[in-house]
Amino acid sequence: MAAVDVIPTVSEETNLLRFITCGSVDDGKSTLLGRLLYDAGMVPEDQLAALARDSRKLHADAPDALDFSLLTDGLDAERQQGITIDVAYRYFHTSRRSFIVADCPGHEQYTRNMATGASTAQLAVVLVDARKGLLPQTRRHSYICALMGIRQVVLAVNKMDLVDCREDIYAAIAHEYRELAVQLGITTVHCLPVVAPTGDNVGKPSTRMPWYQGPTLVELLEAADTAVAQGVDFRMPVQWVNRPDASFRGYAGTICGGKLAVGAEVVVQPAMRRARVERIVTADGDLQEATVGQAVTLTLDREIDVSRGDVIADALRPAPVADQFAAHILWMGDEPLLPNRAYWLKIGSRTVNARVTSIKHKVDVNTQAELAARRLDLNEVGYCNIDLDHAIAFESYEANRTLGAFILIDRTTNATVGCGMLDFALRRATNVHWQHTDLNKDARSVSKGQQPRCLWFTGLSGAGKSTIANLVERRLHSLGYHTYMLDGDNLRHGLNKDLGFTPEARVENVRRVAEVAHLMVDAGLIVLVCVISPFQSERRFARSLFGQGEFVEVFVDTTLEECERRDPKGLYRKARAGEILTFTGIDSPYEVPDDAELRLRTSGLRPEQLAEQVVEQLLSGQTDSRH
């Protein structure tokens, strides 16, 4: 059982396999991985000494046995809890191949970490405890592997010694797993029986299970297919524009599909500008040809507009372009995904605004049953329609792992809250074209002699939004401005009467009001919007619809105590009595704006004085062209 004496050398020309290990808590995943590193001769002497010392400390009953799981359980918190809570990457090589392993946690609540590990992997090693057989988690992990595009799995049936190395038990588990794999679209499955602590069938064939004649785990990993879905058509997202001086303009990026030769005709997407490739530049000299995976810099034969986020593609076989998609989303945020809330979406090197317009269904990750859903919680998978504010070049995830994959970023916290795999463009995007109109906003506002604006009044119920806005509108009207007031309460009698007061409905409410305000600004009007709009991300979304300086956020800052004292509609009293649920300020949060153009501290001031502050702010921005 001694480790090999010499670390196997790896030549410079061996290739690379990335794989993940997954299994349930206590399946022995860390032990198997530790054993793999040990058998590959990757555990240096000083680490081995530390391992022996730690093993003795933890297992007084078996002082001479090595606990291989200690090699890979990294963080302090994990050592205390005895579980792996985050993805850890390990590196080893044999004489035939280099490996990067993502050690993926088995604990139920960390599905997102598994997806993270799976996203770059070409193969998954799925562990099963021979005593327990397939568990709901086995199915869940395999589903996520399949969802993330892994098409080859090694099923390691572990702890065979605890079932007396019985072939029938192994065969039943292997059979059941192969059936599952077929359902999930995993095309290549290898099964083998192992005993991780002693290394049976890990690095060497087991003498205890002569009925298994197949390859060891190491041999399977050395022989696995290293290709990932990258398509055959040339694709390169532009990361960075290289402009050292006036004589050179190159587009730097990593080729994510197909190959390219000098002279090839390409198209820059989504704008569809065509050019020919003049040079393929690298620091090691120009190339005549380049292929998927290479980081290069291209120059083109003519000056066209290309910037970061564009995709350079084969001109004869360009990528589809769209702004509406169907996609699977795996939610990783602590706050739920709400339809119509705006998020940043990053795909390739492009970042755009995105909203999930509908959740068609969520997927029970244990059974793959489709369930109705109005939101996605942490670790849930949904099949969703997505709407972007810009058209992008894309591929289905099945065809291309770069141009079919995106992450979602919370606009307030900047956290990565979701990941998604694109399926196809929605027909609507290709069939509903933007109708061009001859008259535009500028023309319409010139004829009104004013700069259109959206004055967005936000604040608690009873803060005085409508009262102040009403005074502002009267004053503007008397000065000859063209205005319109959109009051949240009034709109709920018509446009928004189908919406309730759940967080999801509040998001949709604000989205509709913002879109209507946007239309009215486009018509050249000064629009006054009064909605509680309690969430920062919705106010930011509203702002994003408008041009620079068009959106004026007015925070009507009245304390909760004061609003409650006034209680003009008797709503606070009802909310306190439990007759109204999810009432802002009582049992639903109000996120105080930190980027409002104007903050009206209402305490001690009359509404007329406050209205005058708003009018002043507005008129200071009006370059008056009126008579």
């Binding site: 790896v10 240096p44 730097a252 995976g293 290479q294 980081a295 810099t297």
Partner: protein, 297 residues
């Protein structure tokens, strides 16, 4: 594609993403072999343009003299700006690894100094040469690793990192640490240095050097600040270094490997890990993780 080509392309992708997404990126330059590889990749990533970011060396004033000479040579190449920062407060207090021990010295002259420099220049992305194979807590580090405005790392609040689609969004005052060599091993680094002919500090190659045996480590006597304890004597031995840091904290290994080929052969036969020679890692269990939370690289 060979695995070295794949690693090189991945690192170049990370460099370019950093330059494009951040306003004031910097590359931390520690003068060691990993920094040499980083610098080589930095030049490659932006060729034919000059690197669009400066290098920053946090100088503890206790580096080997040959390291400083090497740094000056890099600065003399002229294609990239080399910034040097020293914690002058620490110098005034006379902080020294010999009298204050490795923990205090590292905190004041490295961790605090690094934070001072990042604040001084308002860098929002700092590229470093750390690799995941170096140490257990590094194995879970992200490629783009988020730091709050106090430069702290929270291992429980790390952003999930999928594909090569990196989340580069931060608020003002926050920053990221970026690790383009995350997926490289020590062996990959040496293979790449040999393949690309990258210059490294001569201390990596064996030759007779004056060393003292202290607490089980071979410490090189690099200047007159090193004082001998009772019973210690300076000997000339054939040694080299696997990692480079502050000379009183860096143990040499006895070796005759004086070429790259010999170093690689020696490593293939070696049975001890790279950071073993570093005194800093042994200040208590999981000490690297704690240092990282406090802002150490």
């Amino acid at each position: 594609m060979s695995h070295l080509d794949a690693l090189e392309a991945e690192s170049i992708h990370i460099f370019r993403e950093t330059a494009a997404a951040f306003e004031r990126p910097v590359m931390l330059y520690s003068i060691g072999k990993d920094s040499s590889v980083l610098l080589h990749l930095l030049r490659k990533a932006f060729y034919p343009a000059r690197p669009p970011m400066p290098l920053l060396h946090v100088d503890t004033t206790w580096k080997f003299r040959e390291m400083i000479a090497f740094r000056e040579q890099v600065a003399a190449d002229g294609d990239v700006e080399v910034l040097v920062h020293i914690n002058e407060d620490g110098v005034r207090q006379g902080i020294s690894p010999l009298t204050h021990g490795s923990a205090v010295h590292t905190d004041v002259m490295k961790t605090v100094a690094l934070k001072q420099a990042l604040d001084k220049y308002a860098f929002d992305a700092a590229i470093g040469g750390a690799r995941r194979d170096e140490e257990k807590s590094r194995a879970k580090e992200r490629v783009f690793s988020f730091r709050n405005a106090q430069h702290r790392w929270d291992p429980k609040q790390q952003r999930p990192e999928l594909w090569h689609t990196f989340n580069t969004q931060i608020q003002k005052g926050e920053s990221v640490r970026v690790f383009p060599l995350s997926n490289w091993t020590e062996m990959d680094v040496w293979h790449y240095i040999r393949r690309e002919g990258i210059p490294v500090v001569p201390l990596y190659f064996a030759k007779p050097r004056p060393v003292v045996e202290r607490e089980g480590a071979l410490i090189m006597v690099d200047d007159e600040r090193f004082t001998l304890r009772e019973g210690e004597k300076v000997e000339m031995r054939d040694v080299r270094f696997r990692t480079l840091g502050c000379y009183p904290l860096t143990g040499a290994v006895e070796s005759t490997a004086d070429t790259l080929d010999k170093i690689i052969d020696e490593m293939a036969a070696s049975r001890s890990s790279e950071r073993q020679g570093r005194v800093i890692d042994n200040d208590g269990n999981a000490s690297m993780e704690r240092k990282k939370q406090e802002g150490y690289f």
